[in-house]
């Protein structure tokens, strides 16, 4: 009988472990999934339609890249109990502090405009006018954060993260069209032996741009700020770092997995289309064209799934990006800045958040297509000026022994992080330049 009580004890321990893990899941998953924002979905859809399965291998590399960068923010937040903006001010002084925060606010605001554009486009697929989407979305985004509890925000957001999975059934239905010769075998080959020779050709410049866009959308400055602030706001402590790492890893796998499924879905129906490749340039266009390429109600379902997915991506992106800015501004200006505070207790935090949503939403409604394109380009350019600084600052902070104690970067982590940083800086700079001067890599 003794072993039965032992077993029950062991099981209850195990259950408690799981509950702790579930409770700790949050900042990492949210950051990573929100990273598949409206712009990200468009990038993946284009990648699938233009290169088929041949770019899937990149996502195996992107998992560790995203994980190693974001894992640093967990340690930094849990050890110092400070947000990223505050950490930069403390360590590098006001010049770099203001530079980072100003750049972050600017880039986030511009990105926010693109999220609103993505959401309105997604709802247009269902025939909902843009201004209704704008009002409803802004009200929803405000409702998610004003509960005065970080925990509530996190659970609601995790729920919205689930909708990111809609691309998985979409991919399965796309594969069922039978367009792809070898079916899932061809998908598998995309991960280890890409083949650009067969199928529709793509110029090397266009290919480079796509590769860079995929990396650029996976590692962004706001993610660093957001996850660290979320870790601090959640009150994670040094002992929670190990769970935070699991959280981040799960998030990295999710974001790259979902990205791969989006590529599979769009590749299967557009790139391998029996009547020849169909080019799509955005996620909304992908949704609209779905019924053309998939017979019967499957096509309509796929269209709905893509539109829902795009809307959800825009929503998560908008939520996290505005929060990242509000947190950073709060840290710098010394306002109370916590989701655990009510609107009365932290008025400026919520005012900043709402103002960003309103201004970005209005701009997205009134901006012409040309302005929207200009914004997209400008985001990339500003990102190029901020991302290298953000990554270098992050690694320098993580090597600060008096600040980090025993959680300072190990030699192995430094090797991984510096090489990822060098790679990302080169790639994102090249991407920024190619967006500014499209003929540069021709």
């Amino acid at each position: 009988m003794y072993w039965i009580s032992k077993l029950i004890h062991w099981l209850s321990r195990l259950k408690r472990r799981w509950l702790i893990l579930l409770a700790v899941i949050g900042p990492g998953v949210i950051t990573m999934v929100a990273d598949n924002d409206a712009g990200g979905i468009s990038t993946y859809a284009q990648t699938g339609a233009k290169t088929g399965f041949n770019m899937l291998w990149a996502f195996i590399l992107l998992v560790p890249m995203a994980y190693f960068i974001q894992e640093m923010t967990v340690r930094l937040g849990a050890v110092t109990k400070r947000g990223h903006a505050e950490a930069i001010f403390d360590a590098f002084g006001p010049v770099w502090g203001w530079f980072s925060v100003f750049d972050l606010a600017l880039i986030n605001w511009l990105t926010l405009v693109t999220e609103y554009i993505g959401m309105t486009q997604a709802m247009l697929v269902f025939g909902v006018p843009g201004w209704i989407t704008f009002i409803a979305v802004t009200a929803l985004l405000m409702g998610i954060v004003i509960t005065g509890k970080y925990w509530t925000f996190e659970r609601i957001t995790l729920f919205f993260c689930l909708f990111n999975m809609v691309y998985i059934p979409a991919a399965f239905w796309a594969m069922k069209t039978g367009n792809v010769h070898d079916g899932w075998m061809a998908v598998g080959r995309g991960f280890y032996s890409p083949d650009f020779s067969s199928g529709p050709s793509l110029g090397s410049a266009a290919l480079l741009t796509l590769i860079m866009a995929n990396i650029g959308t996976t590692i962004t400055p706001w993610q660093i700020f957001f996850q660290q602030s979320a870790v601090v706001d959640k009150g994670m402590d040094i002992k929670d770092i190990k769970y935070g790492k699991i959280d981040t890893l799960v998030g990295a796998l999710l974001t790259c997995g979902v990205a791969a499924f989006i590529i599979i879905a769009t590749a299967a129906v557009f790139y391998y289309h029996p009547g020849g490749q169909i080019v799509v340039e955005s996620a909304a266009e992908t949704a609209v064209k779905m019924p053309e390429v998939m017979a019967g109600h499957w096509g309509l379902w796929a269209k709905a799934l893509f539109a829902i997915g795009l809307f959800d991506a825009g929503l998560l992106g908008a939520l996290c990006i505005s929060l990242a800015t509000s947190w950073a501004l709060g840290e710098v200006f010394g306002w109370a800045h916590s989701l655990n505070k009510s609107v009365r207790e932290a008025p400026w935090f919520y005012v900043a958040y709402l103002l960003m949503l309103l201004s970005a939403g209005v701009v997205s409604l009134v901006a012409s297509t040309r302005v929207q394109d200009a914004i997209t380009i400008f985001v990339q350019v500003v990102a190029v000026t901020l991302l290298p600084a953000a990554l270098v600052f992050l690694i320098l902070l993580l090597n600060d022994k008096p600040l980090m104690g025993e959680h300072v970067n190990t030699r192995g982590q430094n090797v991984a992080n510096w090489s990822i940083t060098a790679f990302v800086i080169v790639v994102s700079t090249a991407f920024g330049l190619s967006v500014l001067f499209p003929t540069l890599f021709g």
């Binding site: 408690r16 702790i20 050890v79 110092t80 109990k81 400070r82 009150g235 402590d237 040094i238 002992k239 929670d240 769970y243 010394g334 109370a336 916590s338 655990n340 008096p402 600040l403 980090m404 104690g405 959680h407």
Partner: protein, 421 residues
Amino acid sequence: MMTSTPAAHAPAQAGADYQLLFFSELLDRAVSVTRAELKIGKLTDLVFRLAEPFPEAMGIFIGHGWGTPSEFVPWERVVRVDAEAIIVLPPEGGDRYPPFVDQPGWILLNEHLMGRTILDMDGRRVEVVNDVHLLQSHGRLILAHVDVSFNGFLRKWGFGFLRIRPDRFISWKYVQPLSIEDVTSSDKVSLSLARAQMNELPSEDLADALEEVSGEEQEAIFSVLDAEKAAETLLEAEPRAQRQIVEDLPPDRARSILSEMTVAQIADLLSALPWDDRIDLLALLPTDQAERVRHLLGTSEASAGSLVSNNYVSMPKQTTAAEALARLRSLAPDHDAVTYIYVVTEPDTVLLGVVDLRELVLATESTTLEELMASPPVTADSELGKEDLVDLFAKYHYRLLPVVDAGDRLLGVVGYKDIMR
């Protein structure tokens, strides 16, 4: 009530011929020698000497802007305060008054008082000093009240005719700068109401107030609390305020505050602090306590055994009620956990039962604890996790639970507030 009408607290010697003035009205008023036409400058500030019960004016500070030295007119030289100018006697010897030299115990109204925050202990709010109410009588000028109403603010900007709400004065009797040194050091001052009252406030209210004021004022308010109150307040404050307060805490003060906390409370506090501050505080603790705190910080599942406190009273079963009460009295006031008396065997401290203080007080003197005790007692196994403890507390509604090992030996007690967070 701390707010009142101006006349109510006017000093007794005021008599009939007195004049009430607002500092905002005096500010920038012309200062003239003997006649209104002979203007020597504008009143830039008023200098007061802190005194009980009301500070008295020492003189007028006249600033002349860049490059020109200021002038200080001692209050004895002031003839009268007119609506258009303040008339003073000519300087003794020379044509200028000497520059202002600060002296200990002096405050400048504009510099040190206007716009500063005041912690209103009555309304438990932070208020801003918008104006200062002065009383002039028999050649003396006395600081009577500070005005925290919106009107003062309007007056300051020249919209005094808009009287939106009634004036709200706080008599200077109730206002105490946190320390004289703070007031006279030029960089900062914060005001608060009588510091003796501060320790009487519930720590929850103090924590709320601390969260509302800025860093230096936080430090100033916190510094007047006694160690026990400081510990309670610190534990009640939200993490950001905790970090700010601990950052500026001198080591000796930190040590005395920490000594008022249980191991579980210290671990709670430290878990909200940055790593470097945590190391500093751990270094202040006695080795065994530091070890237990470190252990608690390292585990996500604290067990009852690691949360126990030694702050409890145990007695053998044959003790009579009279003896027990006498022993309790001799323990107080250091011991505050006297709600329950744990009845144990001696010398191996096996827990037999628990006696409620209420039953003990009501019992006849010769009754033994054995007759009084509730037995078997509700206990927490030292292996129990935090969640199970929460369940136990929820079930029995006790504030303290005895923690026992497998042989029912009493290890200590765990408090409800140690596990709530």
